[in-house]
């Protein structure tokens, strides 16, 4: 055998495979099957509510775009109670509240962004909403020229 050559392979007979009598189901597989089954049922049960919320948001934004601010606010308000932290939802609700002349609610929502980090896109939307708020407040005679927002 030359120096450095690998040793000749040793033949090790592979153990013959025997058919299993039944499907082996270790406890961790049974546990995971139960967890997956429960998650599947939960998924089926929770999906209509989630889908309804998603559809409600889209309907609310569509109403707002169509100029029906009151209708939009009526749809977005209950959603805001379910998801109070969502920035995009709050911005749309601010716009709807301003449009429906509910400036107290809009102001409260605008204040909820104080100290919160927002994306550049959201910042631009918030600035636009704040300008809309100011214009509406002037229009309703709630803001004098000397007042600051």
């Amino acid at each position: 055998m030359p120096w450095g050559a690998p040793p000749a392979p040793v033949f090790v007979p592979e153990p013959e495979l025997k058919p299993l009598d039944k499907l082996p189901l270790p406890p961790f597989v049974i546990f995971m099957a139960i967890v997956t089954g429960v998650a599947f049922v939960l998924g089926l049960a929770r999906f209509p509510h989630s889908l309804g919320n998603g559809l409600a948001y889209e309907r609310g934004v569509a109403k707002l775009t169509a100029g029906d601010a009151k209708g939009a606010a009526a749809i977005l308000e209950p959603l805001h109670k379910d998801y109070p932290a969502d920035s995009e939802l709050r911005i749309q609700l601010i716009r709807a509240d301003i449009g429906s002349e509910n400036l107290a609610a809009a102001a409260q929502l605008l204040q909820s962004f104080e100290g919160q980090k927002v994306s550049k896109e959201e910042e631009a939307e918030l600035t636009e909403a704040a300008n809309q708020f100011e214009s509406k407040a002037r229009e309703l005679g709630m803001l004098d020229d000397g007042d600051k927002k």
Binding site: L17, K18, P19, L20, L23, P24, P26, F28, V29, M32, A33, V35, T36, A39, F40, L42, G43, L44, A45, R46, F47, H49, S50, L51, N53, G54, L55, Y57, E58, R59, A62, L79, D82, Y83, P84, A85, D86, S87, L89
Partner: protein, 178 residues
């Protein structure tokens, strides 16, 4: 880059569901099972799970055993992840149960793709003489797709598929129905 076996550890429920689906399809067709490994903490080059079973005389049964997990994992992943995807991805406000369902749904869906071992198994069956030419014409593109899917895992195709099924699909459904 995160090695594939670590992804398999994190998403182990998907591996278990995948192998269980293989085993149940074997039982359904009355094929003998020789060894079932639902999950193992595999490292480089090792499979995270496998099923060794008898080859069927009917190549279509072999094909269903190989691609069965694709349908089982996809459907389970979609149904489990769907209700959590809207609060988590759309409203950024999921509760812990939503995040758990999202992880489980993505884990299950991302292990939908048959492995290259599954593709080899179908290839072996389809290239046999008993299989008719039309059946071969149907099966070859499927084998090609399976190989593409397996190769695509290098580029995170399986993870992208899992996220798309359990996360993006429900949000797409909202856009379509609105």
């Amino acid at each position: 880059m995160i090695p594939g076996f670590i992804i398999a550890w994190i998403t182990f429920p998907g591996v278990i569901v995948h192998e269980l689906a293989h085993a149940l399809f074997c039982r359904w067709f009355g094929l003998k099972l020789y060894e079932v490994k639902y999950f193992q903490f595999a490292t480089f080059g090792q499979p995270s799970g496998y099923v060794i079973h008898e080859r069927s005389k009917n190549p279509m049964q072999d094909m269903l055993v190989a691609i069965g997990p694709f349908f089982v994992n996809t459907i389970l992943g979609a149904v489990i992840g769907a209700p959590a995807a809207i609060p988590v991805l759309r409203f950024h406000a999921g509760d812990p149960l939503d995040y758990f369902l999202m992880w489980l749904g993505v884990s299950v869906a991302m292990h939908s793709f048959p492995s290259t071992g599954d593709a080899k198994s179908i290839w072996h069956s389809v290239t046999s003489r008993e299989v008719s030419i039309p059946a071969k014409i149907v099966c070859f593109p499927i084998i090609g797709l399976i190989y593409l899917g397996a190769l695509g895992s290098v580029f995170w195709l399986d993870a992208i598929y899992g996220l798309a099924i359990a996360g993006a699909l429900p949000n797409l459904l909202v856009k379509l129905l609105a």
